[in-house]
């Protein structure tokens, strides 16, 4: 039964997205929402078998020699990622129902969003590296279209940059996979686990290039800050909230689960990336660029947690991923609401919006507090655990730098919040009533708080996932 849910959770949105191209306008929007929601529900059914430490594997088509096979694997890690992917997808689509109404090319939009979600879930469940790569690139192509959604010349150029930079990385990753195949004769993740490989470091370095390009980590991060201001806000929520983290999933899967290898330089890269993102965010003026650099910074944090290869590090990274995805989506959706209302993204020109958009403001504040890592929000535990894991492994200086990055995070997010919502408003205008945008931002803010309150329950699934790594 669990296998069916697994297959359905990928293929319902995959096939459903294609139907979005055919359905009439009225049905289409809700159809896109329904398929992603269904996928989320199917994934919920997978929780209980995974909690019993079952590992669900399916092999649909297998090619001899294990180069390619249409096989899926659901364990704790992949389920956590898939759940968050589809959850953010659902929220983004609910938000889109009112937000996207006024734009052209909606058919393409409602085709691409479920497609991205389906392929992200596909990446999470792929058991074969080539299959993983295929889903990976489907997501990248759809992202290319959606970043360039507004089709102006410079926007299309930015979309090209986004695609080319991530593709540059992923082509190295593909090279790494091929070298891996030459050595071992298989690309199945389960078979690769624990195999002795002679030049592992070189291969993993190539794969790492693909990962950091997708995850917008130093030095292949510069596309993210440009992509976000031009992409539609729900797309930004998906891109920064979950899609970028696909790279981190691959890191966890390959570096953590399969090969259990990491290097000291990765820790340094992660923390410096985190600092650079935070520093740049403190200097920017554009709302969406600030939030985008924040993603660079937070991804560095998660990478730091994973790269420690310790139990608490993995747990912390997973919790950080969950809290960050939710809060970051909330920030982008909030920023989108502001932008659509006032046609302005400069924090120096905005101000005083707490009076006109109070609920959005509260949701935005909650999400910010979660990302800063103040108790009792979910982000507090995540950040605390990352630093805890770093200290526990004896990297004191890196831990100090990470804490400094956290202080910078606090500075730029308060600068952002104060700039938009507090102070003197120069742009006074009555707000349009858009229930779904407000509800989504507020909901994500509240979820950020709820995760913090029920943190020990939230950590149960990650705990199973991490136990599985060390098995």
């Amino acid at each position: 039964m669990a296998d069916t849910y697994l297959i359905l959770s990928i293929f319902v949105p995959l096939v459903g997205s294609i139907l979005c191209l055919l359905f009439p306008k009225k049905v289409r929007d809700f159809w896109a929402l329904v398929v992603v929601l269904l996928s989320f529900i199917f994934l919920l059914f997978l929780i209980s078998p995974v909690m019993k430490e079952e590992i669900i594997g399916i092999n649909l088509i297998s090619q001899n020699g294990g180069f390619f096979s249409l096989s899926f694997l659901a364990d704790g890690i992949s389920l956590i990622f898939a759940l968050v992917f589809s959850f953010i997808g659902v929220i983004a689509l609910i938000y889109s129902l009112t937000y996207m109404k006024s734009y052209d090319n909606q058919r393409e939009y409602y085709f691409m969003i479920p497609l991205i979600i389906a392929s992200l879930i596909g990446v999470a469940f792929s058991e074969n590296l080539i299959l993983l790569y295929i889903f990976w690139e489907i997501a990248a192509l759809a992202t290319w279209r959606l970043v360039g959604f507004h089709r102006e010349e410079n926007i299309v150029r930015i979309a090209d940059k986004t695609f080319l930079m991530t593709f540059l990385g992923s082509s190295f990753m593909l090279l790494g996979f091929i070298l891996l195949y030459n050595q071992t004769g298989t690309l199945s993740i389960t078979q690769l686990k624990g195999i002795e490989i002679s030049n592992l470091k070189g291969i993993l370095f190539l794969i790492f290039l693909g990962i950091i390009a997708k995850s917008a980590c130093l030095p292949i991060h510069t596309w993210l800050a440009e992509a976000h201001p031009v992409a539609p806000s729900p797309m930004s929520a998906i891109l920064s909230g979950v899609e970028v983290e696909v790279g981190l999933f691959a890191f966890l899967r390959l570096f953590g689960y399969t090969f259990n290898w990491s290097g000291g330089w990765i820790l340094w890269l992660a923390v410096i990336s985190s600092l650079i993102g935070a520093g740049a965010a403190l200097r920017e003026k554009d709302i969406k660029r600030i939030i985008a650099y924040s993603t660079v910074s937070q991804v560095g944090y998660i990478l730091l947690g994973f790269a420690l290869l310790s139990k608490i590090g993995f747990l912390a990274g997973l919790l950080y991923f969950i809290t960050h995805a939710i809060a970051k989506a909330g920030l982008f959706l909030g920023a989108g609401a502001v932008e659509q209302q006032y046609k302005e993204r400069d924090i120096n020109k905005l101000g005083g919006l707490i009076k006109t958009m109070p609920l959005t403001g509260i949701g935005f504040l909650f999400c910010s507090l979660s990302i800063i890592g103040l108790p009792p929000f979910g982000g507090f535990y995540a950040k605390l655990m990352i630093v805890l894991a770093t200290v526990k492994e004896g990297h004191f200086f890196i831990a100090a730098l990470a804490v400094f990055a956290a202080i910078l995070t606090m500075l730029y997010l308060f600068r952002l919040f104060n700039g938009i919502f507090l102070g003197q408003g120069t742009l006074g205008r009555a707000p349009l009533k858009k229930w779904s945008t407000v509800a989504c931002v507020l909901f994500l803010g509240i979820i950020s708080l709820v995760i913090g309150i029920f943190v020990s329950q939230v950590l149960e699934l990650p705990n199973i996932a991490v136990a599985n790594i060390f098995k």
Binding site: A280, L315, F380, F396, I407, F414, S456, N463
Partner: protein, 642 residues
């Protein structure tokens, strides 16, 4: 008694606060808040009355056994009592004071949650639980200050938040050093490695920032002007001190062992002494009642830090006692200031005057508290300061630290004199002298009356000042302090340090210093005027409001520059920190741009090569033919030469 009782002081205000959000009627919120605070107070007394209690529940077993554990013992439960007491008094005071203010719904909820989080931080027996409540307090501070001004709230949160992050790092270093997160199991880590010294400094940063010592104090005077007064009385004046100094004590004596005259001890004493003098000097020249009080609040933290920093048990006990006394008289002073504000709608000293006759209760309580803060016997502030002086002298007798102890002692004494001087000015300008003419008397007497709910807290606190001073040994020390601080010499030796002769001498020295400053300012203030013949109207310039008492001090050649810089906020540690962060961010962003240029350059290079390539393919046959010939020639040369 079941140890579950430890949960209630946290849960009760927490739930009451949540309910406050839902209630619609104003009076219901006031009653609920008052009842919940009273219940917490009674619970605290029960907890104090019982033996050591430990409550443990598995919380995050996943992370290697982090328990939600709480522990009450003598020290923490006595802090809890006073915490709840201030909750009750301020809640009562707010009923009348806050009426008609904006966002009242949130105010009571935040007030209750603040008490809940403080109780949690005091009772926490696990470092993670402690960080949770401690950090939540920072957030609640933001919420409470935002009732006044978002700008100040942000400043407060950024200072407290940054120090909280330092504290988190310190706690984790501590965890690495001790191997446990249970506070009880951490014992006297030697301060000999770099890591332990860093851990100590980071932890002390968190504690000092919470207590509001220099240089983490700069949000307090600003908040005093903007935030609602009960918030100031609750947070910077009382709860923050209780928590910060309590935690500083735990760091110095339980987690690590601070030896007298060790490097870190000197550092703490330096911070303490400097805070005392510098902030008292600042208080001297303030012209706003609330600002002056807030500088005094900061100044007094110096005594506590100095006391604990000595490492001498007597001075530590003195520091703790001073913390307790400070919260009592400072809250009383703030509430008195609030009554003045309530009555006159202003706290500008030059607009006040002659209020003693109009507000006798406020005047008397304020006066007692002012004497107490200035360290005048027989009030409580004197007693604790005295213990600290005595401890510092003992430090000198101990030897090993050179003659630095004289500096600490002088700073403490001089600070006391300055405090007295600043309160002479304050009381004169507010309560004595003639009523100011610059603002007409506000009519509507009935509405302005203090009433029971505002007067009672002040009376309670002022009587505590007297009782804790006169019966210092019999009541507060015996009941609360001496059992909390280990190693205070037995009472036999205590008689030794009570020397009335020396006391009197020192008080006279203090008064003389104060008097000298007073006279110095007087000398410059004389003016020429037509002589008073009688029957004339007193012109405004003929009355002495007291605001200019210490303007002379401001003009001393060495101090002028410092005061000027302080006025322009150039000495604000917060601004320095922000500039530093901005500079770092500027560099980091530069790096980011550099990386971007490299990628853009790479892209341009590829495009350029493509353009070049396409220019070669221009479709003209002759050109292609020329290329072919060129190629052939190259091949020919290559083959012939090889």
């Amino acid at each position: 008694m079941s140890s579950n009782i430890l949960l209630y002081p946290i849960l009760l205000p927490l739930i009451a606060g949540a309910v406050c959000f839902l209630l619609s009627k104003k009076w219901m919120k006031e009653v609920l808040s008052l009842v919940a605070m009273l219940a917490t107070f009674i619970l605290a007394i029960f907890i104090f009355g019982s033996e050591e209690l430990i409550f443990t529940q598995a919380w995050l077993p996943i992370l290697g056994g982090i328990n939600f554990s709480l522990r009450s013992y003598h020290f923490s439960s006595f802090i809890l009592i006073f915490l709840a007491l201030f909750g009750v008094l301020i809640s009562l005071y707010s009923v009348k004071f806050m009426r008609g203010k904006e966002r009242l719904k949130e105010y009571y909820a935040y007030l209750l949650w603040t008490i809940a989080a403080s109780s949690g931080a005091i009772l926490a027996s696990n470092l993670i639980v402690f960080l949770l409540f401690w950090g939540a307090l920072g957030l609640l501070l933001y919420a409470l200050l935002s009732l006044g001004s978002y700008r100040v709230a942000t400043k407060g949160l950024l200072i407290i938040g940054a120090s909280d992050f330092a504290l988190i790092l310190g706690v984790l270093f501590l965890y690495h050093l001790s191997g446990t997160l249970e506070i009880k199991e951490i014992g006297s880590i030697p301060l000999n490695s770099a890591l332990s010294i860093f851990a100590f400094i980071l932890l002390a940063t968190g504690a000092l920032a919470k207590a509001g010592a220099m240089p983490f104090h700069t949000w307090i005077p600003e908040a005093a002007e903007k935030a609602p007064l009960p918030v100031m009385a609750l947070l910077p004046a009382s709860l923050d001190k209780l928590l910060g100094i309590y935690f500083l004590y735990r760091i110095c004596l339980d987690f690590f062992h601070l030896y007298p005259n060790s490097g870190l001890s000197l550092l703490l004493m330096l911070v303490g002494s400097f805070t005392i003098v510098a902030m008292a000097m600042m208080a001297l020249v303030q012209n706003d009642l609330k600002r002056l009080l807030s500088y005094q609040t900061v100044s007094q933290v110096g005594y506590m830090v100095l006391g604990i920093g000595t490492g001498i048990p007597l001075a530590i006990a003195g520091g703790i006692f001073h913390m307790l006394n400070h919260t009592i008289y400072e809250v009383c002073l703030f509430l008195g200031g609030g009554s003045v504000e309530h009555r006159k709608k202003t706290t500008q000293l030059n607009k006040l005057g002659g209020l003693a006759r109009m507000m006798p209760i406020t005047f008397v309580t304020f006066f007692i508290a002012a004497l107490s803060i200035s360290g005048v016997p027989p009030f409580n502030g004197f007693f604790s300061k005295w213990m600290i002086y005595q401890g510092v002298v003992e430090l000198g007798r101990l030897g090993g630290g050179g003659n630095f102890w004289i500096i600490w002692l002088l700073a403490a004494l001089f600070g006391s004199a300055l405090t007295l001087a600043s309160f002479i000015k304050l009381i004169h300008a507010t309560f004595l002298g003639t009523p100011s003419t610059s603002q007409p008397e506000d009519m509507g007497e009935k509405a302005r009356k203090l009433g029971f709910s505002m007067a009672l807290p002040m009376i309670v606190l002022a009587s505590l000042c007297v009782v804790f001073g006169v019966f210092a040994y019999r009541i507060p020390l015996k009941l609360f302090i001496l059992d909390s601080v280990a190693g205070v010499p037995p009472s036999g030796e205590w008689l030794g340090w009570w020397r009335p002769g020396l006391t009197t001498t020192l008080i006279i020295i203090g008064l003389v210093i104060g008097g000298v400053i007073y006279l110095l300012s007087k000398v410059k203030l004389f003016r020429e005027d037509t002589s008073y013949i009688g029957g004339e109207e007193a012109s405004p310039e003929m009355k002495v409001s007291g605001v200019e008492f210490y303007d002379t001090v401001r003009d001393f050649s060495g101090l002028k520059g410092i005061y000027g810089a302080a006025q322009k906020k150039k000495l604000d540690f917060y601004n320095w920190g922000m500039s530093f962060c901005q500079a770092v961010a500027w560099v980091l962003r530069g790096l980011d741009r550099l990386v971007n240029y490299v990628w853009e350059g790479l892209a341009s290079l590829v495009v350029l090569m493509g353009r070049g390539g396409s220019r070669l393919h221009n479709g003209i046959l002759h050109t292609y033919l020329a290329w072919c010939l060129l190629g052939l020639m190259v091949l020919l040369v290559v083959f012939l030469v090889l």
